[in-house]
């Protein structure tokens, strides 16, 4: 029985009057790959950002490997949150590489500043992960000298170099030209195979079905349906799930409806 890596209890999140997440309970096991899908604005990113406290939940709690981000009295301790975040890597839609640093400096920075590694050690680790994502030849390039796909792979290496226990991907390929999507998905696929615990938000349904151990369909801040990928994609239970799958797999139908 694998141990629990992420535990989310009664998670609510509001922006002002707007309740975006309406009470989510999720448990994710070590090594599990959970894919979250759902229409735009359903709260997928917000949920993912609550998992590393980039967004502070309005109520409810998030536990990483048994550690709460905030103590039971809701006390907010920035140092504690920051140190727990080092266990959770995050990859953003828009890469967010540091533009004033080369690829390898991007990957080294937090190792030195946060993990307190020596420069040599950090460099070794950075090289290892840049080679792993296929960028051994591009280590000294600045982000602006790299393609989108390469930038996103540097961003993945940067997160991995902290040796996190969990990786979060928020539409890691949505900002990429179609011909660059594959190289990034390959890296994520390899990572999945190595047993990394992952939570992914994606619009790539085929990829979701392939890597996911569990698919969660979210709409309007609640979990509508979750299940094993085969089950989920081929025998969806809820009408909303069916409609959504239909819509993303046959976008041309949607356009006809609109016209």
């Amino acid at each position: 029985m694998a141990k629990t890596m992420i535990e989310v209890e009664k998670l609510h999140k509001s922006f002002g009057e707007n309740e975006i997440l309406k009470g989510l309970d999720i448990e994710i096991k070590q090594g599990e790959k959970v894919v979250i899908i759902g229409p735009s604005g359903s709260g997928k990113s917000t949920f993912l950002r609550c998992l590393n406290y980039l967004e502070e939940p309005t109520s409810g709690r998030v536990k990483i490997e048994g550690h709460y981000f905030v103590d039971p009295h809701g006390k907010y301790n920035e140092k504690h949150i920051a140190s727990l975040r080092t266990e959770v890597g995050m990859v953003f839609q828009r890469f967010n590489l540091f533009p004033n640093m080369t690829a390898i400096e991007n990957v080294m920075a937090a190792q030195i500043k946060i993990r307190k590694k020596s420069k040599e050690e950090a460099k070794k680790t950075a090289e290892k992960y840049l080679i792993k994502v296929g960028l051994g030849e591009r280590m000294d390039h600045y982000p602006r000298q790299l393609s989108g796909g390469q930038q996103q792979r540097v961003a993945i290496a940067r997160a991995l170099a902290m040796e996190p226990k969990v990786m979060l991907f928020d539409e890691a390929t949505s900002a990429l030209d179609p011909e660059l999507v594959g190289e990034v998905l390959n890296v994520i696929r390899d990572l999945a195979r190595e047993g990394m615990t992952m939570v992914l938000v994606t619009h790539e349904m085929r990829f979701a079905e392939e890597v996911g151990d569990r698919i969660i369909f979210m709409d309007k801040g609640v979990i509508v349906e979750e299940g094993h990928p085969k089950e989920f994609f081929h025998h969806p239970k809820h009408e909303r799930t069916k409609a959504f799958i239909n819509k993303v797999e046959h976008p041309e139908l949607l356009k006809e409806n609109v016209n």
Partner: protein
């Protein structure tokens, strides 16, 4: 015609040059001290203004409005004649008989520093805010605290857009040191003034003075332009 015939640039140049040189040193020293004060104060104000504390932000805004709403010359005079008296009055509550006074130079550097600090704070604040929010989020996600992310990720990037503007303010400050003459700092203007009133070589003295300022500020402005282009190229 008389005026033209009586012009004696040779004599004025001969007498004024060494005086202006030592005046220039004082002006440069005031600029350096003033700019350091301005930079530190500007950074502190900028960070205070993006802090979470509403009270702090409010206090700073009022302070900025006061400084920006009054002329630099008035601030310098205030710093020289009034500020030491006010500070003395406060300190006298604990230490009777306490008397503070500022030398003209100290008052001048402080006045310049505070005035420019307020303007620089806007430049610094704007350049911090211009750094994409995604940079902070990436840093936080890697385990930086918000303070660490501000200092080691955001500010280094903000500096790149702020440095060229800083250069312009530096050149402006050198020229504004001429105002220190009014609080008896013996810089270039005061020396030229003194010489002119003694020799009646009015045209010569002030023309040479103007040229002296040009000789400092033109190359400096060029240098700043060069720096700006270099930074722009590095992107």
């Amino acid at each position: 015609m008389d005026i033209i015939q009586n012009l004696d640039f040779g004599a004025a140049l001969h007498d004024l040059t060494p005086m202006l040189w030592s005046g220039l040193w004082i002006a440069l020293e005031a600029t350096i001290c003033g700019f350091i004060i301005a930079f530190v104060l500007g950074t502190v104000i900028a960070i205070g203004r993006i802090s979470k504390s509403k009270i702090l932000r409010g206090v700073l805004v009022v302070f900025l409005e006061i400084i920006r709403g009054t002329p630099l010359l008035v601030q310098l005079v205030y710093m020289y004649y009034v500020a030491p008296l006010l500070i003395s009055l406060v300190v006298q509550i604990w230490t009777p008989g306490y008397q503070l006074s500022f030398s003209p130079f100290i008052a001048g550097a402080l006045g310049l520093g505070i005035n420019y600090g307020c303007y620089l704070s806007e430049v610094i604040r704007a350049s911090i805010l211009s750094v994409d929010r995604g940079q902070t989020e990436a840093a936080l996600a890697l385990g930086y605290t918000s303070r660490q992310s501000l200092w080691s990720i955001v500010i280094p990037q903000a500096t790149r857009s702020a440095v060229p503007v800083f250069g312009n303010y530096l050149v402006m400050m050198i020229k504004d040191t001429s105002l220190l003459a009014f609080i008896t700092v013996n810089e270039l203007l005061l020396r030229a003034q003194t010489y002119a009133s003694q020799t009646f070589l009015t045209i010569e003295s002030y023309t040479i003075l103007a040229i002296a300022y040009l000789i400092i500020s033109l190359p400096l402005a060029q240098l700043m332009g060069l720096l700006e282009r270099r930074l722009a190229k590095r992107g």
